[in-house]
Symmetry: C2
Subunit: 407 residues, 2 copies
Amino acid sequence: MSFDYSAVLSARAAAAASPFKGYPPYHFVGGNIDEPSLPAAALADAVGKVLRAEGHDMAKYGMESGPQGYLPLREFICDNLKRRAAMTVSPDEVLITTGSLQAMDLVNEALLEPGDVVVLEGANYGGALTRLRRLGVDFVGVDLDEGGMRMDSLRAAMEELKSQGRKPKMIYTIPTVQNPTGTVMSRDRRLEMLQIARDYDVPIFEDDCYADLIWEGERPPAIHSLDTDGRVIYCATFSKTIAPALRVGYIVAPWAVLKHILPLKTDAGSGALEQMVLAEYLPSNFDNHVNGLLPILKQKAEAMTQTLDEHFGAAAEYEKPIGGIYIWVTLPKQVDTRKLFAAASAEGIAINPGPEWTVDGEANKHRMRLCFGHPSVENIREGVAKLADVCHREFGVPLTSGNVERG
Amino acid sequence: MSFDYSAVLSARAAAAASPFKGYPPYHFVGGNIDEPSLPAAALADAVGKVLRAEGHDMAKYGMESGPQGYLPLREFICDNLKRRAAMTVSPDEVLITTGSLQAMDLVNEALLEPGDVVVLEGANYGGALTRLRRLGVDFVGVDLDEGGMRMDSLRAAMEELKSQGRKPKMIYTIPTVQNPTGTVMSRDRRLEMLQIARDYDVPIFEDDCYADLIWEGERPPAIHSLDTDGRVIYCATFSKTIAPALRVGYIVAPWAVLKHILPLKTDAGSGALEQMVLAEYLPSNFDNHVNGLLPILKQKAEAMTQTLDEHFGAAAEYEKPIGGIYIWVTLPKQVDTRKLFAAASAEGIAINPGPEWTVDGEANKHRMRLCFGHPSVENIREGVAKLADVCHREFGVPLTSGNVERG
C-alpha cells in the first residue's frame, strides 16, 4: 500500500508536474538564447584558471567574499553598469543572486505583504505576475505605448489609488526592452517616472534583465542612475547574455534596503563556481561576446517578422524588435491565444498566450509572445508558418498566406 | 534626502545585516569543510571537459535534462545511494536542488501550513528550526540518546499529539551523523521509526546531509531504503563532501509527492555548471575523495576532543565523534552558552550556543556546538584553549587547565 500524500499536502502544493518529455520542435517560449554562440570553450578556459587559483576557497560557504557574493564579480558588475547603464555603484551595494528570479523573490519578500498593491506595466513578464498572485499582492496595470509605460497612465493610476486611500508598495518596471513588448523607455520618461515616484513617495523596482540586448539605438541610462534619493532597487542577470542555465543574477540597491534584503537570502550563498567563471570570463570578454550576439539575435528577429509578414500578413501586428529575444504579436480579435496555444501545442509549437503576460487577460486574449532567441532561423521560419496554418484552421485567420488565399 | 524604506518594508524584513568583515580567527561554526583537501584541480579538469563537450546546452534553462536537473548527475546519485545507503531509486525520483537548504524549503513548502506540527529531534539543526518558526509551524522535540532519536519518546510524542487531536504533518529526522549530536541511528531503530510512522499515518522527511562522513562503524541503510510504502522523502547534499560553496543538493521522493514539489521550484533550475562538474567528477572520484577526507576529519575531531579534555577537563562532556564535522558539548549548568557566545566572539571565537540548536533552549543553555571541519588542527588547539580561558573568566569553569589549577 502506498502512503497517500494528498492528506498532507499544503494548499500551495496543489499543482502537479508531468514528467519531462523533452522540448517541443518549435519552442517559441522561455528565456533561452542562441546555442552556437554560447562561449563554452572560453568559459571552460576561464573556469579552469580560476578554480586552480582559488578553488580551495569553496570550502567555505561565502568563500573569501561573504554573503553578498564573490567580490571580483561584484566589482565587474559595478564597472559594467558604469559603462552600460551610467550607474555609479560600489560592490557593497551589490548582492549576487541565484538568477534574477531570486532577486525578484527577495525584493518582493522584503517589501510586500498580502493585500499590498504594486503598480506595473499592464503587459508584463508572466513570472512576475504569478509571483505577485502567489504572494496575495494586488497589482495595477499601466498602459504602454511604443515608448514603454505611459507616464500619464502611471500618474492616473497613482492618483486613483490615492483616492482609494491605497499607497502602492512600489512601481515595478522593465524600462529597457520591456517584456513582452520590447519597448525601450526614453531618458525623459525615466525622469518623469522618478518624479511621479517622488510625488507619491514610493520606491521603484527596476528590472533590467534584457537591457544588454539592444541592437538599434542607444541604451538609455538606468532609472537607478538618474535617481537622487536612493529610491530605486535594480536587478539584472547574465542569463540572457551568457547562459540561462548559469544561475547568476544580482540586485543593486542602497545599503539602507539591501541590509534588510540580505537576511532574507537564507540559501547559504549562490553557487560559487558560476560566480567565479563569470568573474574570470567577463572583464575581458563581455563586450565582444555581446557585440557578436546582437547581429545573431537581430537576424532571428528578422526571420520571425518576415515569416509573420509572409504567413500572417496584416493579421499579425507587432512593433519590430530593436533588442531582446521576443515579439509581442496582436492577432485579429476573434483569435483566442489560449485556444491557439492548445492547438499549436498539439502540433509541437509552443507560444505564450497573451492572457498569461498581461494584467487584463481578457482584453489581451488575441495577443501572444513569441521568443526567437533559441531556435534557429530555419526553425523559426518553419514554426511560424505552421503556426499560421494552425491559426487559420482554428480561427479562420490569416486569410492569405504568402500572397495565396487560403481555402 | 534619502528615501525612507522603513515605511515600505514587510514584517519579515525587520532584521538588518551588518557589512561582512571577514571570518573570526577561530571559526567553529557553519558547515565549512577542510580546505586543503578540496579537489580544486580535479574539478577544474572535470569542468573543462564537460563544458567543452556539452557547454552549449546551457543556452536552455533545463539543458537537455528538464526541470529535475542534469540527468547524468541524477544517474550518479542513484548509483551512489544504492552503494552507500542501500536505496533503489530511479533518476525520475530525484530532484536536484540549489543546496539541501532549498530541498528543505521545498519539502516544507509542499507539506506545511502555518499552525501545522512537525515532530523532530529535540537537539537539531538550527536552520531547520528557524525555517519552521518562520513558516509559523509548531514543532515537538523528541529526546535523543547515543543512538539518536529515542523511539519510546517518539511514540510518546505521537500519542500525546493524538490525544490533543493533532496529527503531525511529518517526522523530520537526521538519522545519520545527527546534527548537532553526531549520533547514528541503528537499522533496528530505523525500522521502529517506520513502524511508528505507519501507526500514526505520517510521512518521514529524512535529512542525510552528513551521512557520507562516517569514519567508524558501518553506515546503516537509509530509512528510505527500508520503507515499503513510499512514505519517506529523502534529501542530501554534496556540500559536506565536495564543497559547500558548490550549491548542489537533492531530494529523492516517490513521484506521487515529487510531482507536487517540482512546481514549487520556481527558480528556473539549479545552476548547470555546478551540476555538470559534479556529474563529470564524481563517478570516478567520489569514493577516493571521501576516503581521503575521513582521516583528516577524524584527526581534526581528535584535536578538538583532546584540547577539550586538556583545557576543560571534566567540565566538558561530549560523545566522541564517529563522523561529521561537529561536537555537541555539555558544560556545567552555570554556563550560559549565549553569554559565552558573546564573550567568545569578542575574542575572535565563534561557537553555536545550545539554545539555537535545540527545541527547549532553556534546558540546553549550557550546551554548545563546535565545528571542526574547516579550521586547521593548530587553529582548533589554539581556539579551544582560548575558549576555555574565556569560559573560566566568565563562569569560573573549567577549574583546571592542562592539570594546572586556574587562579
